[in-house]
Symmetry: C2
Subunit: 219 residues, 2 copies
């Protein structure tokens, strides 16, 4: 079976919003895809006819086994290409998302497998997100939200919870990236801000909103 770019983008968006389990609303989907609810409804009917999801009107949507398989294949391609762009072509980790958004729709199965082999079967993409293997399995990162990191435990930033340019701008300014080693010096309960320390730098505080989208691996 072959699917259009639009169909694939819908499947991937449902997969992300569904996040393992749960049902996804038409409005949330419309927001995620920068389209309108009416357009989403039309697409859901079509994808239901293609057996990629279960959908009853007004009841929300959920991917079928087939749908999940397709979603994982797209996510796999997206993250492998991101890895390729950063690791092989020396892109910055903050400029690959848009390009991968296109590359993820290239259909050749053989290309994905050869690319994976060439890259050495990487387990995580440049943003710290796990790359599904050819069977759709992905490693579970033993990472924790920065909010939950214990004080004075050194950890390494392993993932960010968003790829928005706004976030990336802030991270660049604060000099934080994937691989940055830091530890928490203080947690302020008033506004849930936290003071962090990066080696050879002065300690500084970051907001709750920022801490919530940073994930770290204890080392």
């Amino acid at each position: 079976m072959n699917f259009s770019v639009t169909e694939e983008n819908h499947i991937k968006a449902i997969f992300h919003l569904q996040q393992g389990e749960g049902t996804v609303s038409t409005n949330d989907l419309a927001a995620e895809l920068h389209t309108k609810a009416a357009s989403v409804t039309d697409m859901l009917k079509k994808l239901k006819a293609k057996k990629l999801l279960s959908y009853e009107r007004y009841k929300g949507v959920r991917l079928s086994v087939e749908g999940k398989k397709l979603a994982l294949a797209i996510v796999r391609k997206h993250r492998l290409w991101e890895y390729f762009l950063v690791d092989t072509l020396q892109f910055g980790w903050d400029e690959v998302h848009e390009v991968a958004e296109e590359l993820e729709h290239i259909s050749s199965k053989k290309l994905v497998e050869k690319l994976d082999a060439f890259l050495g079967y990487p387990k995580f993409d440049p943003h710290g997100d796990p790359i599904p293997d050819s069977h759709g399995k992905m490693a579970v990162q033993q990472q924790v939200n920065l909010i939950d990191l214990a004080i004075n435990k050194t950890a390494e930033v392993s993932a960010v919870g968003s790829q928005s340019t706004e976030l990336l701008e802030l991270l660049k300014h604060k000099n934080i990236g994937i691989g940055t080693r830091l530890e928490i010096k203080k947690k302020f309960s008033f506004d849930h801000s936290i003071e962090i320390k990066i080696k050879n730098q002065n300690a500084f505080t970051i907001s709750q909103q920022l801490a919530q989208v940073l994930f770290v691996k204890i080392i």
Copy 2:
């Protein structure tokens, strides 16, 4: 300006049929693109409105300077990706065309430049065709049609005039590929077939039709 995959495929097809100079017919274009003449006419009107070509009804079509620039950019991407697939990912040179047909439409300019640099600015693709540089210039291959090769002059196959699976099947069977060294032993005027000899193999004859699509570089 941004163009659809269909628009880009039309521009590229016109470029190839136009071959440097000349005017291209609606029917030839329809054949090349596996579509119908009526559809081509519609597209020509649109591309004319976008100033990519000059077109008068019943008079054929010709790319504008802008159109040629776009065509060269697409050809550049197509051939760079083919080179990447063969050189980096170890694809066979006979299985990359279809994949490149998709990859050539990825829009990121930065990706093309980074890919080119990573590959070491290759001048020819795996089929021996020249790769336009970032300014659209391409090397002129000092190659000659096998038909025109002098008898007993050793030469190396440098390009094939088609990527049809039928041709590739025949070449595989005859054990001929890019880089194969051979010389002509005899030319038969009756059917214009020629007898060729590859080192460590017995001589054999190939048809006029085959010889016409093989290009060689004298060494």
